[in-house]
Symmetry: C2
């Protein structure tokens, strides 16, 4: 590998994220040969057919020989197990990264399983996705202008950090760095908490309809307009995936839920106090932030 | 007025709702002459120019003489005052309705101010709107397939209820009836509560960014994806309007916030207990309801 070009890339888990990373690096001319490792033969065939990977194997030793870069793109809870499989086959120069949506648990798995290779394991989280899965859903523009958060470790080799940064930038992403703890709190706040609020809101409508003697919540929902629609759109997401995210980022999510509960209680207290002035001030601040955010996106 | 045709319609407050009602009734051929009453000369001129009304006046006595139907389309908190002005000029056959988004307070204002005319005052709430205001924003299709909730009173004359039902159906709306208390709880649940959750969520992001040493919440928001975007879209709404709605529907909104807090606490407890099974069950139920709701709308 010279000046951040990859001769041999290994993608473990060739789904939406892993497959799109391969396609984006290819499009950017940053990679020569791509090996895929995956559990579903059908998915691996799609990956070969679409030219996402050049070869597929289930042999870690053959795959990792002479590899410059390994991307771990498996569900977070499989991280430790896959690292165990990788470790005896890893070479001393191979850079490793992942795409997990939580980072403290990935870092712990790496420290437990990678030994001295942790020097070249750079944890990363591309904040991008669609509602579709698998190699067939992959496309090279997935990361264009999307954030990728690295959580480099004290053990990390700086050249490896620079290389991972360069590869993600090559995919069109906006790369930034923070501590694993900070990452998990941030994602809990901007993604996991909003999902919990939406799930709870739908549950609330369900309970309310039963209180009103309506077995079917549609009896209430047929009166609902765009506000409830917007606020519950994300409840269509995969229940299994969200169960896993909840358990994987449990501590940070609990912190965020508790802090949110305080904000909602404060608003409730304004209502109890008939405090129209404080309510209006709160609503105005929220609107100003929303407008600034919209303006920021319109610019980019 | 024969078989629900209006010879003379008076619209008090010719904004988005009042103006659209006029345009829809005209398009349906259900009205002959429309008089507008309003405070902004500029808005009234727009209403005349656009053919929404045939004449405008500030003289309640002239306007209400021989009126078949009066639509009160002013902000809810002005309802009592306007009813006081109307009362001495009302004739014995004139049907009156309103468009207020809360109903218990409107009913109270009517009982305090309309005297025996309450027989022909049918409270109503068209659940429709856009983010724009004024006569210029009015359009005849606003109520097409949208719910209109009547909250008829024990004092009401059934023929007046039938007439108001027919007029709204003439505008293309889906008309249903419920108790004023039930209406206010329903609207608190499906509209006012979701707004409070969104405002609190934006406030939470604001507080969190300060906790993390970032003065500007955009430092966090630039990492956010579609979930937070969807969940805060409605925070761009008018702070003054939402302050008023909060205070007008205060009791019902407090009930809904407290019930929601219990749902969120229950979810939080599942996390505390590492109870993945209950979380998945909750998420699955929410998704099933969401999918049933989407299917219902796709059909209609």
């Amino acid at each position: 590998m010279t000046s951040f070009h990859i001769s041999k890339l290994v993608i473990i888990g060739v789904g939406l994220i892993g497959g799109s990373f391969a396609l984006a690096l290819r499009q950017a001319g940053l990679v020569k040969h791509i090996v895929g490792i995956g559990r579903s033969p059908q998915n691996m065939q799609h990956a070969l057919d679409r030219g996402i990977i050049d070869e597929q194997t289930s042999d870690f030793s053959a795959a990792l020989a002479d590899a410059d870069f390994v991307l771990l793109a498996v569900p977070v809870k499989q991280t430790g197990r896959v690292m165990q499989q990788m470790k005896p086959c890893l070479e001393g120069h191979t850079i490793i990264s992942d795409v997990g949506s939580t980072k403290q648990n990935v870092v712990q798995a790496a420290r437990e399983n990678l030994g001295e290779h942790i020097e070249r394991f750079i944890p990363a989280h591309p904040v991008a996705g669609t509602e579709f899965n698998g190699a067939q859903a992959a496309f090279p523009e997935l990361f264009q202008s999307k954030p990728v958060i690295l959580t480099p470790l004290p053990e990390n080799d700086q050249q490896a950090v620079d290389a991972v940064t360069a590869f993600w930038q090559g995919c069109g992403a906006r790369v930034s760095s923070m501590q694993p703890e900070q990452h998990d709190q941030l994602l809990a706040a901007i993604s996991h908490l909003p999902h919990m609020l939406a799930f709870s809101l739908m549950q609330h409508i369900h309970t309310l309809s039963q209180t009103l003697g309506e077995e079917n919540p549609l009896a209430l929902l047929r009166f609902a307009g765009t506000s409830l629609n917007d606020m519950t759109r994300i409840t269509a997401s995969s229940p299994e995936m969200w169960r896993d995210i909840c358990l994987e980022n449990r501590a940070a999510l609990l912190t965020q839920i508790e802090a949110y509960q305080q904000e909602l209680s404060a608003l409730r207290q304004m209502l109890v106090n008939h405090d129209g002035e404080s309510l209006q001030k709160l609503f105005s601040a929220a609107r100003a932030t929303r407008q600034a955010w919209t303006a920021l996106r319109d610019k980019s």
